[in-house]
C-alpha cells in the first residue's frame, strides 16, 4: 500500500487538510472527502467538462488532475461562486435564460462561462461557443447556454 500524502487545499476560501492516496483524483477529493457534490463526473475522460473547476484561477477538468497536484493551491467550485446567498451574474443569467435542463453539465458550464467573460468581457456568440468547446450538454441546450453567457456579459458591461 503506497504511502498516503498530506495535502492542504484552499477550497472556496476555506483551507482543508487531509491525507490522500496519491491516485485520488481532484474531483473525488472534492465530492467524496469534502462532500462538495455540485461538481459532477460525466465522461470521466476529460472531454465533457462536467467536472470543470477553477484551480489557481484557471479552469481545469478535475477528473484529470490528482488531488496531490492541488496541494497548496486554491480551488473554486460551483458552491464557491455565490456570496452570502447572492448569485453571480453568470448564475443569474443561467436562471433567467433557462440555461439548464437536466442540470448535470451546469456546474461546469457556469465555471467555464465565468472564465470566458473574465478573459473577454464582451464575447461574441462565436467566441462563447469556442470557449465552451470542452463542455458538453447532452440535453443539447446550447442555445440558451450561449444566451445566458451573453446576457451575463451584458450585465457585467452595465447592460
Amino acid at each position: 500500500m503506497p504511502n498516503k500524502v498530506p495535502i492542504t487545499i484552499n477550497v472556496n476560501g476555506r483551507s482543508h487538510s487531509a491525507e490522500v492516496e496519491p491516485r485520488t483524483l481532484l474531483v473525488h477529493f472534492l465530492r467524496e472527502t469534502l462532500n462538495l457534490t455540485g461538481t459532477k463526473i460525466g465522461c470521466d475522460t476529460s472531454q465533457c467538462g462536467a467536472c470543470v473547476v477553477k484551480l489557481n484561477g484557471v479552469t481545469v477538468k478535475s477528473c484529470t488532475a490528482f488531488a496531490v497536484q492541488a496541494d497548496g493551491a486554491e480551488v473554486v467550485t460551483i458552491e464557491g461562486l455565490a456570496q452570502n446567498g447572492n448569485l453571480t451574474a453568470v448564475q443569474e443569467a443561467f436562471w433567467n435564460n433557462h440555461g439548464l435542463q437536466c442540470g448535470y453539465c451546469t456546474a461546469g458550464m457556469i465555471i467555464s462561462v465565468t472564465e470566458i467573460i473574465e478573459r473577454n468581457p464582451n464575447p461574441s456568440p462565436e467566441e462563447v461557443r469556442a470557449g465552451l468547446e470542452g463542455n458538453m450538454c447532452r440535453c443539447t441546450g446550447y442555445n440558451n447556454i450561449v444566451k445566458a453567457a451573453l446576457a451575463a456579459a451584458a450585465a457585467g458591461q452595465g447592460g
Partner: protein, 292 residues
C-alpha cells in the same frame, strides 16, 4: 476509473527530478498530467512512482532572445497561445497552441509533456518539426540538444534516455519574409489531429525561396516532406504550383518507411489522401489565398 496504486514524490529541482528518475527505473514524470493521467486511469500505464515536476519554477515561462524563443517545458498551451511575445515572434506557435484540445485542457497541458508523451496525434510534434525546433534534454551529466524531428522516434517513443527530462523547447523566430501555417483535420471529440500539415515558407515577393513541410497525425512520428519542399523552392506560389508540389507528398510518405495509421474513425487510405490536402490548405493560408 482509478489508476493503479503508485508512490508520489514532489521534485523541488531539475537535479532532484533527474536523480529520482535515475534511482527508480519504473518512475514517470508528472507535469500537467493531461496525457499521463488518462493512460494511468485506463491502466495502459502503471508507473510505480510519479515524480511531480509541476512545482519546479525554472521549467516554466517564455523568453525571446535574438532569433530564438525559449519555452520552459512546463509552460501550458494556454500560456503560449496568449503570449504577446510569441504572437509577435512566431504566430504559428500561438495559433497551434490555441487549437489544442479545449480551453480547460489548454490551461493544464504542457508543451514539454506533450512532446515527451509523443502521441502520433500531437499538434506540437508536427508543427515543431516543420519549424526546426529543438529541445534541451537534462540528464545526470548535463544537458544536450535534440531536434524535435529526432526526438520523436515512434508512437509514444522518444530519444530521451530514462533519466532525462525535457527542460526547454527552443523555436526559431520567423523572419519578416517567412510565413508559417498549420492545417489539421481534428477529431471531433478530442480535437486531436487525425491528419495535420505544417509549413514554413521563405518568400521573395511571390516566389518561394525555401520551404519546410511536415505532416503528422497519420504516421507514428512526424514525417518531413523533402520532395514537396524541393518542388516549392524556387517556384512562384500559385494554386497550381502548390497543387503540383503537394501531389509529391506520397513519395515522401513512402520514403519515410512508416506505417500509415488507420482506425475506426479514419482509415489509412483516407488519411493518406487527406494529408496533401492539409498541406495545401496550410500553404494557401500562408500566401493569403485561403483564410481560417
Amino acid at each position: 476509473m482509478f489508476a493503479a496504486e503508485f508512490e508520489y514524490r514532489k521534485a523541488g529541482s531539475i537535479a532532484e527530478a533527474v536523480q529520482l528518475l535515475a534511482d527508480n527505473p519504473d518512475a514517470k514524470l508528472l507535469a500537467g498530467g493531461h496525457s499521463l493521467i488518462p493512460l494511468m486511469r485506463f491502466r495502459l500505464a502503471r508507473p510505480e512512482l510519479l515524480i511531480d515536476i509541476g512545482g519546479i519554477a525554472n521549467l516554466r515561462g517564455i523568453t525571446v532572445s535574438g532569433d530564438t524563443i525559449n519555452i520552459g517545458a512546463l509552460t501550458t498551451h494556454a500560456e503560449i497561445a496568449a503570449s504577446a511575445e510569441v504572437q509577435q515572434a512566431n504566430g504559428l506557435l500561438a495559433e497551434a497552441a490555441g487549437g489544442i484540445g479545449d480551453p480547460a485542457v489548454r490551461n493544464r497541458g504542457t508543451i514539454g509533456g506533450n512532446l515527451a508523451h509523443a502521441d502520433p496525434a500531437s499538434d506540437w510534434a508536427t508543427v515543431l518539426t516543420a519549424l526546426g525546433a529543438t529541445v534541451s534534454a537534462q540528464g545526470p551529466s548535463g544537458s544536450r540538444t535534440i531536434a524535435v524531428a529526432d526526438l520523436i522516434e515512434d508512437a509514444f517513443a522518444t530519444a530521451l534516455a530514462e533519466n532525462e527530462l525535457i527542460a526547454t523547447v527552443s523555436v526559431p523566430t520567423l523572419a519578416a519574409n517567412q510565413r508559417a501555417e498549420y492545417a489539421k483535420m481534428a477529431h471531433p471529440a478530442s480535437f486531436y489531429a487525425v491528419v495535420g500539415g505544417a509549413v514554413v515558407v521563405t518568400m521573395d515577393g511571390d516566389r518561394c525561396t525555401a520551404a519546410s513541410v511536415a505532416v503528422g497525425g497519420l504516421t507514428p512520428r512526424p514525417v518531413k516532406a523533402p520532395s514537396v519542399e524541393q518542388a516549392l523552392a524556387g517556384t512562384t506560389l500559385t494554386m497550381d504550383s502548390i497543387a503540383d508540389a503537394t501531389a509529391r507528398l506520397s513519395d515522401d510518405l513512402s520514403a519515410a518507411g512508416v506505417d500509415i495509421i488507420g482506425d475506426v474513425y479514419a482509415s489509412a487510405d483516407f488519411r493518406a489522401s487527406v494529408a496533401p490536402v492539409e498541406v495545401k490548405h496550410a500553404l494557401l493560408h500562408a500566401i493569403g489565398l485561403a483564410h481560417h
